[in-house]
């Protein structure tokens, strides 16, 4: 089989700078060489490939859009998006790790944290020496995080946290958790370190999706953290939502990465597999599927690229991000399902990628705002009428 070269039907490479192409190609090579050979088995065994983390850190993929003074690369939004695209071509679990670390933990420390918090965590997290997780969702509060019950009470120079979070990526392996909790002054963010008395992070097992990723509960039983672990200046839901806007941006690119992997695999497979005396790709029904896939991929790529440019110009609104996350992950899921079908029986095995991507994308479609929650966000944006409640 020839080397994976992505999908570029509309010559969108011409829209990228040399630097952006280099970032993309380097990440692609890394995924081809270090991820593809091991990811099928890691997925089967429900193991996150932790051994890749130092390498990902050395290459500067975590928090790559944050500035150099904190040990990061200072990449622009498009280059950062392309990293996500290529990582998710490998596996959504790996991309989730990098999204959580970079967008949901490093980014809020950078945007909301004190200088001391930044110095302490950002360089170490960029290198992958420290791992972070982001605790917003609770067992009874998913799409509606405003209703969260986890709370923090001030006691002298300390805060006392009680409650529980659920579905938290990286939880069990994290050295630090960004935890959002109700306080007298609204929702606030705290850094809770591994090993703090009363804090535990048991792993959630038996997943059919994102198997090569750690998902955990976070349990807080009178957990005491110093005042210096609080984000000083951000209050209310806009704190966590600001982080989500960052992560969703990367996911919009990531979705297309998974879609491209599935299309590439389905195209290669149907060109080489013969039934009824000719390659499957020679039948009209199969061609229609391929034509639909490559069209949706091209549209999704354009959406992601344009969003990157809007972000670069400071014009991207959270609703723009919602449109790209919703569309690109939704279409990626459709494409993965169709690819799975096109590979016949082989499509259900770990020898091929499409079913792994398909199962992964079910999570990606749900987390960071479900498909329908983004529908409501767009609906409110165009009509001015909120329909959430």
């Amino acid at each position: 089989m020839s080397e994976y070269r992505g999908v570029d039907y509309y010559l969108l490479d011409d829209l990228l700078t040399e630097e952006e192409r280099m970032v993309r190609d380097m990440t692609r090579d890394f995924v081809s060489e270090a991820v593809m050979p091991i990811i099928g088995e890691a997925y089967e065994n429900a193991e996150f490939p932790l051994h890749l983390v130092p390498k990902i850190g050395e290459l500067g993929m975590m928090g790559a859009n944050l500035p150099e003074e904190y040990g990061c690369a200072g990449l622009g939004p498009v280059a950062y998006g392309l990293i996500n695209q290529e990582l998710e071509r490998g596996d959504s679990g790996l991309r989730s790790f990098v999204s959580v670390q970079g967008s949901l933990v490093m980014w809020p420390i950078f945007a909301y944290g004190t200088e001391e918090q930044k110095q302490r965590w950002l360089p170490a997290m960029a290198k992958g020496e420290k791992i972070g997780c982001f605790g917003l969702t609770e067992p009874d509060h998913g799409s509606n995080p405003a209703g969260m019950v986890t709370n923090a009470r001030k006691d002298g120079d300390e805060w006392v946290i009680n409650g529980a979070k659920m579905w938290i990526t990286n939880g069990t392996i994290a050295d630090v958790a960004v935890v959002w909790a109700q306080t007298d002054e609204g929702i606030q963010g705290f850094l809770v370190e591994k090993g703090t008395p009363g804090f535990s992070a048991p792993e959630q097992k038996r997943k059919f999706s994102l198997r090569a990723s750690v998902t955990s509960e976070l349990v807080f039983d009178d957990v005491r953290v110093p005042e210096s672990n609080r984000f000083p200046d951000i209050k209310g839901l806009k704190g966590p939502l600001g982080c989500l806007t960052q992560a969703r941006y990367g996911i919009a690119w990531g979705g297309m990465g998974a879609a491209m992997a599935c299309y590439d695999e389905a195209l290669d497979y149907t060109l080489n597999r013969e039934q009824f005396g000719k390659p499957l790709a020679g039948f009209q029904l199969v061609q229609q599927k391929l034509a639909n896939m490559v069209t949706e991929i091209t549209k999704g790529q354009l959406l992601a690229w344009r969003l990157g440019k809007l972000k670069e110009a400071g014009k991207a609104r959270p609703q723009h991000v919602s449109m790209a996350k919703r569309n690109n992950v939704g279409r990626a899921l459709d494409i993965a399902r169709v690819a799975r079908d096109m590979l016949g029986a082989n499509g259900i095995t770990a020898e091929y990628q499409c079913m792994r991507h398909m199962c992964n994308l079910e999570s990606v479609n749900t987390y960071e705002g479900t498909y329908d929650i983004h529908t409501l966000i767009l609906g409110q944006d165009v009509t001015g009428i909120p329909a959430f409640e």
Partner: protein, 252 residues
């Protein structure tokens, strides 16, 4: 320690080569270009030596078309300090003498302690440039090295001789060494490296081109491979398979 590394822009190794209309060159329309993989071993070796010494300068030198700046930029992102492009739209058509002459003229003035090349470029597979370059520069040359250490103005190198013998040489510097797979594991460019690369210089220089001594008369693709054949299944087929490999394919 100043090191020059010669790099070439070549078609990716999985390119389906098409012969151009003239029958003498490759049709480059659909080709993806890469840094010649053996040159990546040379570059990695140079960067490792500079890192070990804690000082020095690695210059990558390329005879190539204007587009080769993207391969040079990649070398800078991996860790080279500067690049020289001997810009020539006809670079692909020269014979090894002309190429080695142009590289020698560019490297001569640099005052380097070491010149590293790949053992061959995967486009033509000839492996002549490194050796001819050493001759032009009047420097010692060891080809196809798989190990390299430098101390006190000497390089200790190892290469595989015939039949898998390991040969070890000491060579005084400056020298020209051509690098083989196994010498090291080339690193990826890091994000920071990519960001720094745009600030590093690529000098574009008019190459000094001698006249060629070789002309390509024709290029042909190898004949289509015959379809495979299934001799039988399981242990029962072994005897027949061995017989056919021996008598028909004549490989045993």
């Amino acid at each position: 320690m100043k090191i020059a590394v010669c790099v070439k822009r070549v078609p990716a190794t999985d390119t389906r080569i098409k012969v151009g209309g003239d029958g003498q060159s490759i049709d480059t329309a659909q080709v993806e270009w890469i840094v010649n993989p053996y040159d990546e071993f040379a570059l990695e070796a140079a960067i490792q030596l500079r890192e070990a010494a804690g000082e020095g300068e690695v210059t990558v030198v390329c005879l190539g078309p204007a587009e080769a700046t993207s391969e040079l930029r990649k070398c800078l992102a991996v860790g080279a300090d500067k690049a020289i492009l001997l810009k020539d739209p006809e670079a692909a058509s020269h014979d090894a003498q002309v190429t080695a002459g142009a590289l020698a003229a560019a490297i001569e003035g640099l005052g380097v302690d070491l010149v590293l090349c790949g053992k061959l470029a995967v486009d033509r597979d000839q492996g002549q440039v490194g050796v001819l370059l050493a001759a032009r520069l009047g420097l010692p040359c060891v080809t196809e090295i798989k190990a390299l250490a430098v101390a006190d103005g000497m390089a200790t190198v190892e290469r595989s001789g015939d039949g898998g013998n390991r040969e070890k040489f000491e060579v005084t510097l400056p020298a020209v060494l051509t690098c083989d797979k196994g010498l090291n594991e080339p690193r990826y460019a890091s994000m920071k490296g990519i960001m720094q690369a745009k600030k590093k210089p690529i000098d574009e220089v008019e190459p000094q081109l001698g006249s060629g001594l070789l002309d390509v008369k024709s290029l042909e693709l190898p004949p289509e491979r015959a379809a495979g054949k299934i001799v039988g299944e399981g242990v029962a087929a072994v005897d027949e398979l061995v017989r056919q490999l021996h008598e028909e394919a004549k490989v045993l």
